[in-house]
């Protein structure tokens, strides 16, 4: 009981940080002649105010969660992966190619638009294709780091730009929708056949079912299941242990006989794979085709970056990334509602998002201090140190075990 209360108190600084962010945003809103109460009311309504709003929040959270799981693996392995955007694009390109090719091979033309058709083989192969390409793209950065000592921050930033141009090239070339092959074409692929699409997701509550009339799709479930699997992988398998060991102390891992280079590549491979899944799921579950406006965020929705934030807010724990991703999904979707209803500029929302990130990440020190004080005061319960705060302290594997359980 005391433990639970403590955890609640632990959470207080985050709430205070959010409150502070709200106060600063209110000042900005007042300066723009908008009523802050009205604004935040719209924000809340836009995020969870209706069945559709909630669904859109979850839809927005899905790619953030996929990327966040991958980032968690990378960070636990000591790799800073800024390349989520590029890996998403790489995954989407491969996934959509597989889906288009298999769709053509396995589905007769007259069945292309049949509602409710679902082909497990096409979908599975596309997802795997997306995972693999994203993984190779992320793994490339890991390879360059391991064997050529090319810093992964550098290579992933560069690889993001390369992926966008590659997408523009392919979507305007061999992947271009045959129906678009005109003079003034939009760079996009053909629409996937129904059988290659991830089905929409609804829950058997009410009639029609909850979320039945929304864009919520099975990608969310896949992401959540994978979050649990990766949690087990990281804390319950020797593979996961080796990744974390390298992340915590390369030299010691090396002495302990772990192939550090291989682990670096492996953690970036997995991180890229999850970002790749985020990309292919956006196509299979939502857009049903890949198209580009020339910028990376046009397709990715900046999930490659938001995933980093979600991973760290989730305490570098894949299960913790679930609520973190949902929070950011809600924030981003709600903020747009606010923009539409009040006519406040989109830029205000970008600035406020930045503030929230800074304030919340700054608040962690207070949680850290509290848990430390608790340890030093010798409270009778086992301390559950905040896992995220430990990345910089180089925790021992056993300690981590604790934090993982605590959060899970």
């Amino acid at each position: 009981m005391a433990g639970r209360l403590n955890r609640l108190v632990d959470f207080a600084p985050v709430l205070i940080a959010l409150l502070l962010a709200l106060v600063v945003s209110s000042v900005l809103l007042i300066a723009l002649n908008a009523n802050p109460f009205e604004a935040f009311d719209f924000m809340l309504k836009g995020a969870v105010g209706s069945e559709n709003a909630t669904a859109e929040t979850l839809v927005k959270a899905t790619p953030i969660l996929f990327v966040g799981i991958g980032i968690t693996i990378a960070f636990r392995g000591g790799m800073i992966n800024i390349g989520g955007e590029g890996q998403m694009i790489a995954g989407a390109l491969a996934g959509v190619t597989v889906a288009l090719v298999l769709g053509e091979a396995r589905v007769p033309a007259e069945m292309a638009k049949t509602p409710g058709a679902f082909d497990l083989i096409i979908v599975t192969c596309s997802l795997l294709g997306g995972f693999l390409m994203g993984a190779l793209y992320g793994g490339l950065a890991g390879f360059l780091k391991a064997y050529f000592d090319v810093n992964e921050i550098l290579s992933t930033i560069m690889l993001n730009q390369i992926a966008v141009q590659m997408m523009n090239f392919l979507l305007n070339g061999i992947l271009l929708d045959p129906a678009e092959a005109g003079f003034n074409n939009i760079p996009k692929t053909a629409r996937l056949v129904t059988a290659a699409q991830l089905p929409r997701l609804s829950l058997p509550i009410g009639d029609p079912w909850l979320f039945a009339r929304t864009r919520l799709h099975w990608g969310l479930i896949i992401a959540m299941v994978l979050a649990v699997i990766i949690y087990i992988f990281l804390w319950r398998t020797s593979w996961g242990y080796r990744i974390r060991a390298v992340g915590e102390n390369q030299r010691a891992s090396s002495y302990a006989g772990i192939n550090v280079k291989r682990q670096m590549m492996f953690s970036m491979f997995l991180a890229g794979g999850f970002a790749g899944l985020a990309g292919v799921v956006q196509v299979l579950g939502l857009q049903y085709r890949l198209q580009t406006d020339g910028s990376p965020a046009g397709f990715t929705g900046a999930a490659g970056f938001n995933g980093i934030v979600a991973a760290l807010f989730g305490g570098l724990n894949p299960i913790g990334a679930i609520p973190a991703a949902a929070f950011f999904g809600g924030l981003l979707v709600g903020a747009q509602k606010m923009q539409r209803e009040l006519g406040v500029p989109a830029s205000l929302i970008t600035a406020v998002n930045g503030l929230i990130v800074v304030f919340v990440v700054s608040s962690e020190i207070f949680i850290l201090q509290r848990s430390k004080r608790r340890v030093s005061e010798g409270e009778d319960e086992t301390p559950t140190p905040n896992p995220s705060s430990k990345m910089r302290e180089g925790p021992s594997p056993t300690e981590d075990e604790n934090s993982g359980e605590g959060d899970g």
Partner: protein
Amino acid sequence: MRKILTIGLLVLFALVGVTSLAQDDVFRIAALMPSATNDLAFSQSMYDALVAIQEELGEDAFEFTIQDSTYIVDDAAVALRDWAASGEFQLVIAHGSQYGPIVEELAAEFTDVSFAWGTRQDTFGMDNVYSYAAASDEGGYFNGVLAAHLTETGVVGLVGPIEVGDGKLYADGFANGVASVDEEIDVNIVFIGSFSDVPLATEAAETHIANGADVLTGTAQMVVGPIAVAVANDVLWFGSDASQDELSEDIGVAFQIYKWDVLLLDMIANIKDGVLGGEYYKLTLENEGLVMEFDKDFEVSDELMALADDVIASIVSGEIVPIPEMMADDKAEEKTEEEGED
């Protein structure tokens, strides 16, 4: 019980919907744009059109709401659905070809809401979707002809975003316009791979000038950089989408301006008559949706003015076809659209 409640709610919504529409004669438009409304380019052209309509119809009769800078395609889906579902808007505009698939899906679901999207010639065969496009090749051709007459070095430069859509159309029209005057003139074209990278666009313009260009043109919101370069180097500038004469000082020559209000007013009239869509609009010089405007600070010689009038007349009459290859293309497209409808 739940069923009754649902029906009750539906009736209530219907009533609210009907009364709110019946209460006033205000025509409401919601519009979604990919970049900022002050970009001096594509998004601003739509924003300016909506403001113009409001001025024309009056604030009691016309209201609009917008969401700009929505370059994330998925966010567009949320906004458009929100507007469509609200029942408050008689017309929902998706101003960007990348929004097409979303409109296609929503229009099927919200059959009583009218949608407009562009720039593209495709109503998906639905009778509640209007589509619109601009013949930016016409303005490109016009600018090209004038540029060819004004260049002294025989080199003109174009800075474009990515090699697709309106940007490509304008570039090809421009190149053909130049070539129609003098095949010897070099038209150097650089697509910088981005709509928004101002520093790179700026340096692309510098590179053009270093290679002898004394006339520059370009499309997309990053052209503010090239315009500034043109001003600094005292070379001429031709623009597109919206008027840029505020920025181009005395080196701006002519701008192709999209007057979306021309077609929007027509759509509004149609919707008031109960026709929710099914039509494709194209801004052309002929229907005056495309307007060529000379920069206020540019002194137009009589000769140039005569030439300008002549080019416009020839394009309007069909004597000049800015991009001959596209004629065949347009026809093919119309055909596939018809096939798609049955």
